[in-house]
Symmetry: D2
Subunit: 446 residues, 4 copies
Amino acid sequence: MKKIEEFLESISFDKRLYKYDIQGSIAHAKMLTKCKIITDSEGKRIVKALKEIEKEIKTGKFKFNLSLEDIHTHIEKRLIEKIGDIGAKLHTARSRNDQVSLDMRLFLRDEIKEIAKLIRNLQKSILKVAERNIDAIMPGYTHLQHAQPILFSHWIMTYFFMLDRDWERLLNTFDRVNVSPLGAAALAGTSYPTDREYTARLLDFSKVVQSSMDAVSDRDFIIEFLADASLIMMHLSRLSEELILFSSKEFGFIELADPFTTGSSIMPQKRNPDVCELIRGKTGRVYGNLMSLLTTMKSLPLAYNRDMQEDKIPLFGTVDTLKGSLSLYAKMLDTVKIDKKKMLASLEGDFSMATDLADYLVRKGLPFRKAHQIVSKLVKETIKKKKDLDDLTLKEFKTYSKLFGRDVFDTIKVKAGIAARKSLGGTAKESVKRLIAQGKEIVRKA
Amino acid sequence: MKKIEEFLESISFDKRLYKYDIQGSIAHAKMLTKCKIITDSEGKRIVKALKEIEKEIKTGKFKFNLSLEDIHTHIEKRLIEKIGDIGAKLHTARSRNDQVSLDMRLFLRDEIKEIAKLIRNLQKSILKVAERNIDAIMPGYTHLQHAQPILFSHWIMTYFFMLDRDWERLLNTFDRVNVSPLGAAALAGTSYPTDREYTARLLDFSKVVQSSMDAVSDRDFIIEFLADASLIMMHLSRLSEELILFSSKEFGFIELADPFTTGSSIMPQKRNPDVCELIRGKTGRVYGNLMSLLTTMKSLPLAYNRDMQEDKIPLFGTVDTLKGSLSLYAKMLDTVKIDKKKMLASLEGDFSMATDLADYLVRKGLPFRKAHQIVSKLVKETIKKKKDLDDLTLKEFKTYSKLFGRDVFDTIKVKAGIAARKSLGGTAKESVKRLIAQGKEIVRKA
Amino acid sequence: MKKIEEFLESISFDKRLYKYDIQGSIAHAKMLTKCKIITDSEGKRIVKALKEIEKEIKTGKFKFNLSLEDIHTHIEKRLIEKIGDIGAKLHTARSRNDQVSLDMRLFLRDEIKEIAKLIRNLQKSILKVAERNIDAIMPGYTHLQHAQPILFSHWIMTYFFMLDRDWERLLNTFDRVNVSPLGAAALAGTSYPTDREYTARLLDFSKVVQSSMDAVSDRDFIIEFLADASLIMMHLSRLSEELILFSSKEFGFIELADPFTTGSSIMPQKRNPDVCELIRGKTGRVYGNLMSLLTTMKSLPLAYNRDMQEDKIPLFGTVDTLKGSLSLYAKMLDTVKIDKKKMLASLEGDFSMATDLADYLVRKGLPFRKAHQIVSKLVKETIKKKKDLDDLTLKEFKTYSKLFGRDVFDTIKVKAGIAARKSLGGTAKESVKRLIAQGKEIVRKA
Amino acid sequence: MKKIEEFLESISFDKRLYKYDIQGSIAHAKMLTKCKIITDSEGKRIVKALKEIEKEIKTGKFKFNLSLEDIHTHIEKRLIEKIGDIGAKLHTARSRNDQVSLDMRLFLRDEIKEIAKLIRNLQKSILKVAERNIDAIMPGYTHLQHAQPILFSHWIMTYFFMLDRDWERLLNTFDRVNVSPLGAAALAGTSYPTDREYTARLLDFSKVVQSSMDAVSDRDFIIEFLADASLIMMHLSRLSEELILFSSKEFGFIELADPFTTGSSIMPQKRNPDVCELIRGKTGRVYGNLMSLLTTMKSLPLAYNRDMQEDKIPLFGTVDTLKGSLSLYAKMLDTVKIDKKKMLASLEGDFSMATDLADYLVRKGLPFRKAHQIVSKLVKETIKKKKDLDDLTLKEFKTYSKLFGRDVFDTIKVKAGIAARKSLGGTAKESVKRLIAQGKEIVRKA
C-alpha cells in the first residue's frame, strides 16, 4: 500500500546522514576483514564501492526512491547492485538497530563540534563589542526598572558567561555522544568473533557502549543535546528581547545594522529587528523539539521500537536552528552601533544613585538601616519637588543628615558610582576588564 | 491589600530553605568581619543569633507569617528583633538577589548529592537482582515482538547503564551548581571591600560566579537539573512500563512484593502495580516542571525579575519526586520475584532462534544473504505446518540445504543461542558477567 | 511500609474535594434508595450522616490521616464509624474509579463557572479603562517599532476580545466536563438495577458518559481545561509584558497603583511591577501543567491506571493560578494611571504618519506604489536633515510631488491619522466606540 | 547578505498556502472594486491574472526564489510582472499582517473539515469492527491486571467516544478559525472606505474579527487546533499501545494485517506493528508542536512580531501527522483479525468473576461488605489450593456461606457476568448494542 510506505519512510529526511552511514560501513567492513569474517579482497571491494557511492550522492547522481524507506537501505541496495554477493556480506554481524544509532552519533558529534565553534565565535564578538565600548554607561535594570548604573560592557559580558556554560554543557554531552554502539547487532550482540573496540577506534570514538541492549534502545544522547540547545536558545531569546527593547524608539540605545532589520516600503525609517525576533520565536521550536523526544521515549519498553524513528526531525531542526542563530548573532554584534549619549542620558532623574548615597552615610558612621531610612526620605521629597539629586544644595542635603559634606557631590556622580563597584565581578571598569581578560583566556584555549 | 500579599508570598514553600539561608548568612557575616565592614563582636553576635534562629525553626518554635513574604525576610526580621541594629548590618554588601540564588544553590547541592547516592543504591539493587538471576532466560524484544532469547540479567543491566549516565550527568550539573553567587549584590557588585572568594571557601564552593550580573540573572543550574531529572524519570518510566507488562497475567514473568502492589477488597488475587504506575505517571510532572521553568526564563531581560520566583515549586516538586521514586525502586527490585519457568516457556514456538540458524549456514560457507533466504523459507513453511523448529527432522532440514548436519539440533537450542553471543556486551553469560563486574567496579568507586 | 504509603497517598491534596465527594455520595445514596437497592431508611441515614461529616470537615473537627490514602476512604470510613453496616452499603454499584472522576468533574464545573466570572470581571475593567481614556493617543507597534498612531482604548480593547475567546472556550469545555460518569463502576458497569440518569439529574449534569469504560479512563476534560488555561495565561503574559514595558522609565506611559508594585528600602522611587512579572512567570507553570498531564496520559492502556492520580496537582495549581491572576488583574486595571502626555509625546519625530501621507497622494490620483516611492524618498531625506514631517514647508513638499497642497498639513496630524481609520475595527474613535459598545453587550449578557 | 535571507525566508514551507493566498486576494480585489477603490476593469484584470498565476503554480510552471521571502511576495511580484501598475493596486487597504492571518485561517479551515471527516471515517471503522465482533469476550483491565470480563466491542467502542469528543472540539475550534481578519491592514485599520463584511461573505467566513489589532496579533486559533490535535494523538497513542500489547506473543488477541506490520528478512514470523509504533511516537511531535507555539507567543507585545512566522512549521507538521495517522488507522481496523479463542482463554483462572460472586451473596441478603469479606477469603484459599472457581463443588462453596446454592454455578460463568452488567453503558451485549446504535446515529448525521 503506497500510503503506508509514505507514512513509514524516513529517506526524505535521513538522507542527510549518508556520509556517516558510509563512514560507519567502511569501519565495519574493515573490522570484518580484520576478524576474518570476510576476506581481505572482499573487504577492499566493499570499501571501494562505498566510496564510489558516497561520491555519487555528493555529486547528485544517486537516485533516491521513497519506497526504499531509509538511507541505510538505499546504500546497501546500491552496494549490492555494484558488487553483488560481496556487498550482501557487509551487513554480517550488525543490524539496522546499531547502525542507525551509530549514524546519529557520528552526525551529532560533528554538529556539536561545529556548534561549539560557533559559540566561541559569538563569544569573541561579545568580547569585541565589550572592548569597543568599554566605557559606555547604561542603566542597570531589575524588574525592567532602573536599579543602578552599569557599564554596557558589563551588561554584554553577562551573555559571554551564559554562553560559556552552554559550551561546557555541550562538551559534557559530547562525551556521552562519542561512544560507539556498533556491533550491538539487533539487541543481543552477535555470535561472530567481532572486535567492537577496533571499529570504535577507527571511528575515533572514545569508548564503546558496554551493553548491546543499551546500545540499541538509548536516545539519551539526543535528548541531552536538545536540552543543551534549549538553554542556548533561552539565552539567545533573552539577548534578543533586550536588543529589541534597546533598539525601540523609547530606549534608542542601539542600532542594528541594515541587513539585520527590515523596513517597510512606506516607512523607510522603520528598523524592524526581524532577525532578533525570529531567533526569539524559534526558541519555541527548540523547546518543542525537546518536549517531543522526551514524550516519545516515555514508557518505551526495550529494546528498539519504531517510535524512535521520531528522533530525527527534532534533532535535525534543532541543529539547523542553532547554527543559523549563533552565526547570525555573531555578525549582528559585530555590526551593532551603540548610542552612548542616549544610554547615559536615560539615567537622568532616575535616582539610581540612591544606593551610593546610603553607602556614603554608612561610611560616615551611620548604621546601614538608618542610612537607608534617611535616603529614602530624601529621595521621596526630592521627587515631590520635581528635582533630581544633582539639583540639591549642600544645605538641602544637610537638612537630612549632618554627616553630608561637600564630597557628597562626587558620590552622586554616575561615574563615581560605577567606579566604586570594584568588587569581584562588579561593574567598575577594572572589574569588567578583568572579566574581559578572563574571557579572552577562555576563547584562546578552545 | 491582603490578596496581593498572598499572591506574591513564597514563604509557604521557601521556608524549606531556612537552613541554607542561615548557613549563607553566617558565611556572609564572617566575611564582613574579616573585611572589617563590621566589628568582630558584631560578627559574633550575628552568628550566635542566627544559630539560635535555626534552632527555633528546627524545633517548631519559630512563627511564620504570610505577610512577611519569604524566608529571607523572616530570618532577618527575627535577627533584628533579637539583636537590634547589629542585626540590621547583616544585609550590608549583599541583596535579596544574590541571597536567593545562593540559597537555591546550597539546597540543590545537597539534594544532588543525595539523589546521586540514591541512584547508586538503585544500581546496587540492579546488580543484586542480576546476579541472583544470572542464568534466567527470557525473550528479548524489539517492537514488543520476540526477537532473540536473552538473559534476564542482560535485560536488567541495561537499566544499570542508563542510570550510570544519569549519575554522570548529575555530577556535571553539580559542577555548575557549586559556584558562589554571594557578593554580587543587587546586580552591579558593591562598593564595600568584600571578599567573595572567602565566602565561597567558607561555603565549600569550588569557585565564584564571575560576573555579578550573571550571578543574579541566572537560573541555568536549576533548568539543567530539571533536564537531568526528566531523563531519570524517562528511564524509570521505561522500567515501570516493563515491570507492569511483565507482572500482567499474560506475561507473568515477575511478581512484585506485596507492599508495592494493591489489591481490591473483592479481588484479593489482584496485584495492581501501583508504585510502578505512579512513578510512570509522575514522569509527566517532572517533564512539566522542566517545561515550566524553560518557559518562565524565555525572553527575560536582565537582571533579576520577579518571574524568577517561579523556580521554586518546580524544583522542590522534582527533588521530592526523584527521591521518592529512586528509593522505592531500589526496595522494589530487592524484593521482586522472577518466574524463570514462565519466562523460558514463553520462548516456545516463537522462532526466535532463526537468526542462529542463518548464522549456522553462513559458518558452513553460505553467503549471508543466501542463508537468510533459506531460513526465511524454512520458517515460513514450518509455521504453516504448525510446527516448531524443534519438531523438524534432519531430513526436513536438509530439504532446505544440504549444509545442515546433525549439529543443527544443538544450534537451535535457546541456551546455545545465548551462549554464542559472546561479543562485547552481548547476552552470553560471560559477557553479562563482565557487565556486572564493570558495574560493581563503578558503584564501588562512588 | 510507611514510605510507600506516603508515596501513594493523595489525601494531602485531594481533601479539597471533600464537598464534591459528599455531594456525589448523597446523590448515589438517593439513587440506591429510588432503585430499591437499599431501603428508604437506610438511604436517609446515609444522607444524614454524610451531611454531618461535611460539617465536621468544614469546621475542622475531622481528623485526617496519611495512612488512609485519599478523601474517598476517609469519608467512607467515617461513615461506617458513624452508622455501621448501613454505611458500608453506600459503595454498592459504584467504584473508586467512577467516584474520583465524578468528584473531579463536580469540582472543575464549579471552578470553571468561577473563572468565567472572573474573566467577565476583567473584561469589565478593560471596558472601564478604555472608556475613561477613550481619546488617549499612543504609538501602535509592530516589531516593537512605531508603526501608526492608535488610540489607547483601541489597544486595551484587543485584550477584551482575547479574553472573550477564552470565555467561549471555557464554556465549550464546560459542556464536556458537565457529563456524569457515576454508575460506571470499576469499568464494566454493574449488575444492580441502577439509574445513572437519575444521579446525573440530581447533580445537575446535562448528560451521562455513555460508555462505562470511557467514564473511568477519560481525563480529556482536565487536559482540555489546562489547554484553555494555557491560552488565558498566554494572553495575560502578553498584557503583563506590555504593562511592564509601558511602566518602564523609557516608555513611561502608565503607572501601576502602589499595591501592585514593590520598591526597595533604598530606592523609594522604584516601582517594580511584581504582580505583572509574577503572572508572566506563572505562565510557565500553567504550560508545564498542561504538558504534565498530556505526558502522563500518553500511551496509557484502558481503563483506570494509577498514573491518573497525577491529574490533581496540575489541575489544582492551575485553578489557583488562574483565579489569583484574573482577579488581581481586574483590580490592577481599575487603578492604573495613564500618562497621556508622554504617550502623545513619544510619537514626535517617529514618522508614523508616513502611511497617511502616501494615502493622501493616492487620493490625489497617484498609483499606490508610486505614492509609496515618493513618500519613502521624502521620509529618508527628511530624516537626513534631522527634521520631522511637521517641519516641512509646502514648498518642500512640492519638490517631491506637485500633488501636495495646503491640506497636507492637516493630513499629517496624528489626530487626523487616527480619525481617518474608520474601517470596521479600526482605530478611529467611532470605530473603537463601536468595539466598546459590543463589549458592553457581551458582558451584559453573561 | 545571503545567509540572513535564508534565515528569514518562509517560501520553502509557506508556498503550500498559494491557493489560499490567491483566494484571499481575489476576494480583496472584488471588494476594492465594489467599494470603488479600484475600477471595475482593474478589478477584473487582477482577478484574471491571479487565476492564471494559480494555474502556473498548480502546473509547476511558476518559479520560486528563496530571495523573495514568502508566498505573498512571490504572487504579488508575478502579478505586477503580468499586469504592471494595476497589479500594484491590489495591496491597497491591506497589509502583509492581515493577509498572512487570512491565509492561515483559510488553510486551517479546509484542513479541519478534512480531519473531521477522517475522524468520522475512523469512527465508522470502529463501529464495523465492533459489530463484526459483537460477542467476543476479553479481559477488562485496570492497572493492566484482569478486573472483569468485558466484550471486545465494549472495549473498542471506548475509542469511538474519545474520537467523538475530538470531533466536537474540532468543530468548536472551527468556529473560532472561521472569522475573517482581512481588512485589518497593518494593525490600525485603514482610511479607505472598505467593506470587511463583504470579503468575509465572499470567503464564506461566519463573521469578521472585530478589532483590527486583534486580527493581526492573534494566533489563538492555531494553538487551539494544536491542543485539539494533541488530544487526538493522545487517544491514538492509547489505542496504539493496546494494539501493540494485544498483538504481542504473550497476549495474542489480535493480528494486524500484513501491510501494517514489518518483518525482518531473517524472521518472517515477526510482525512488528510499525504503524502503531510510529503513530505512538508521533504523539511526541504533536505535543512538541503545541508547546512550541505556546512558548513562541508567550509575552509577545502587540501587534505583529516576526516571531509569529514560527506558527507555520508546527501547524503544517501537525496537520500532516493527523491526516496520515487517522486515515491509516481506519484501514488498520478494517483489516485487523481478532482471535476470540485466545481472548476467552486468557480469562481462565483469573478470578475475574469474584465481583459477581459477591453480588450474588448480596442479592441473597448479605450486607455488601460482609459479602466481600467472604468472597475474599474464598478466593485466597482457592488460589492457595491451585484451583479455579469452576473447580469448586457446591459443598465447598457452602463452607464459606450457607447462602450459596446450585445457581452459583451459573453466576460464575463469564458469559453470565457480562450479561448481568446491563447498566447504562455497561458491558452487557444489549448495552453495547445501544452504544453502537448511538454511534451509528452520530456518524450518520455528520
